[in-house]
């Protein structure tokens, strides 16, 4: 099943083209890794999938992105609903400077207007799913910023889960974490694909190889416009890629 389909996506910042002709199918309940050197457009591409680039005034996009077959860049498409269905975890753990509870409750509270016991159970369920419930059940009123970085990042993941998304976008979610916390996040991702489709941007080759089912390799040849070099099953990309540039990158010859 294809969850998200990008067709001939071109993206521009003003007159500068930052993505050229990206076509990519993201499979449902699988992990797709977007890899490539800095500035290759992988993060920009990921942000096209939940229209987070909309707030950049000079940003424009050509081509189509479909979620379950519906074009998300259509004029009538509800962006608020899109972002509930396609959640996002950022590079740096960024909980709100509020309590643990309020962080996880944010989405359901403001968007779905959940209250009381319903809200409590959503918070509990979301924290359980990221393995934080045991640690934090007695600390729900604690300031989220007093948690360790690893806990903060999992809290951010719980904050996304509480909006009941279908797709989770992760922008280098472990780059600020130590190896143990990184492994926890990766284990979590493998558990979460029971229910969710995951797209992860990562600089870390081993991480992409360990965690993902599919890998897309992005590259820019002019330092500006990102292109999709190769896309395929992770095992194949890492063992017998078609493109010489992919070999060069994953063997560490550049990037």
């Amino acid at each position: 099943m294809i969850k998200i389909r990008a067709e001939h996506v071109d993206a521009y910042y003003g007159a500068k083209q930052v993505l050229a002709d990206i076509s990519l199918d993201i499979k449902e309940r699988q992990i797709t890794a977007l890899i490539g050197p800095s500035g290759c457009g992988k993060s920009t591409f990921m942000r096209c999938l939940n229209r987070m680039n909309d707030s950049v005034r000079i940003f424009s996009l050509r081509g189509d992105v479909y979620l379950d077959g519906d074009p998300i860049y259509a004029d009538t498409y509800d962006v608020v609903q899109l972002r509930q269905r396609v959640g996002m975890v950022f590079q740096r753990p960024n909980p709100f400077p509020q309590t643990v509870y309020d962080n996880v409750a944010f989405g359901p509270r403001v968007v779905a207007r959940e209250r009381g016991a319903d809200l409590d159970s959503i918070v509990e369920e979301s924290l359980r799913r990221v393995g934080l419930w045991q640690e934090l059940r007695d600390k729900l009123t604690q300031d989220a910023l007093s948690l360790s970085l690893g806990q903060q990042q999992r809290l951010c993941l719980a904050r996304v889960l509480s909006t009941r998304p279908e797709v989770i976008l992760m922008d280098e979610p472990a780059s600020a974490l130590d190896p143990i916390e990184t492994l926890r996040i990766e284990d979590l991702m493998r558990e979460l694909i029971e229910l969710y489709t995951i797209v992860i941007v990562t600089h870390n080759m081993q991480q992409a190889a360990r965690v993902s089912d599919w890998t897309a390799f992005f590259l820019t040849d002019d330092g500006l416009t990102g292109k999709l070099v190769e896309y395929g099953e992770t095992g194949q990309i890492f063992t017998q890629p078609d493109d010489k540039r992919t070999i060069d990158y994953i063997t560490g010859r550049f990037g």
């Binding site: 987070m52 950022f90 960024n94 400077p97 989405g107 968007v111 910023l145």
Partner: protein, 281 residues
């Protein structure tokens, strides 16, 4: 010359300069305290003035100033914070918003007597509010707006962009992000700005001179259309307009005004400290 000696001399000089800054404030407070404290009594704070203000208390002036501060806040806080939210969160950087910002900066430097005359022209005469608490509060509110707007806008801008992005990524509208995340973070700064603005308005004489202040009115105001006495104007009157006024009443009034303003300042600091303790990013 020996660098250590230079350093010592330099620091000594700087300490001296700092001391010079503090001395006048201490002298003012000291003088007012020494001469005003004996005048402060239960009667002074709770009674009407008698004998052409030469005896009795200053209750109507205290109540008047409290009412004017409240009225000013009622008008200036929603308008000022609202404008700040608009400017910081919604307005695009166009010629118009730049003109608005410039206007706000310039409004802040308009002399207070000009606000007073403006208040007479617009509120007292044109809108027929008469010399009243309403006209006075509105005049003070307009004078206070630029302070509230610019400090609030600054406080809002100090909240990291990231929180707005995260809120949007969770399906929140811009307003939901502002309401739930940005405003609570900016609150200490906004409160500081609001209180600083209100403090300034509480001590002003010129804007209330023609718009609300009564020379001698030994009764409490009954409605917002009434005139009222007010501490700063009362102080001006009894210091310059009434011959043979006992010095202790003058200093007592000054001390009352000082205590009012200082206590508001302390409250602002406490509120700010309370909120600051709870945030870190």
């Amino acid at each position: 010359m020996n660098p250590h000696l230079v350093q010592k001399l330099g620091f000594g000089l700087l300490a001296l300069i700092s001391l010079v800054v503090v001395i006048p404030i201490l002298l003012v407070i000291g003088a007012i305290l020494a001469q005003g404290a004996p005048a402060i009594s239960a009667e002074f704070l709770t009674a009407m003035p008698r004998d052409g203000m030469k005896a009795g208390g200053i209750l109507p002036a205290i109540v008047g100033t409290l009412l004017l501060t409240a009225g000013t806040g009622l008008v200036a806080i929603p308008m000022g914070v609202g404008a700040a939210i608009y400017l910081s969160e919604y307005a695009r950087d166009t010629g118009l918003t730049r003109a608005v910002r410039l206007a706000i900066v310039n409004l802040a430097s308009v002399p207070s007597v000009v606000y007073g005359l403006f208040g007479v022209g617009i509120f007292v005469l044109l809108l027929q509010f008469g010399t009243s608490i309403l006209a006075g509060s509105l005049t003070l509110a307009i004078m206070t707006l630029p302070v509230i707007i610019s400090t609030s806008e600054e406080a809002l801008r100090a909240v990291p962009m990231e929180f707005r992005t995260v809120s949007a990524s969770l399906g929140g509208t811009p307003w939901q992000g502002i309401r739930r995340v940005v405003l609570p973070q900016a609150l200490p700064g906004i409160i500081t700005g609001v209180i600083l603005g209100l403090l300034r308005s509480a001590g002003e004489t010129a804007p209330i001179l023609f718009t609300v202040a009564a020379f001698y009115l030994p009764a409490l105001p009954q409605s917002v259309m009434d005139q009222t006495m007010a501490l700063p104007y009362h102080l001006y009157v009894i210091s310059t307009q009434v011959p043979g006024m006992p010095l202790s009443i003058q200093f007592g009034t000054a001390l009352t005004l000082l205590i009012y303003v200082l206590s508001m300042n302390v409250i602002a600091t406490l509120i700010r400290g309370y909120f600051r303790r709870r945030r870190e990013w």
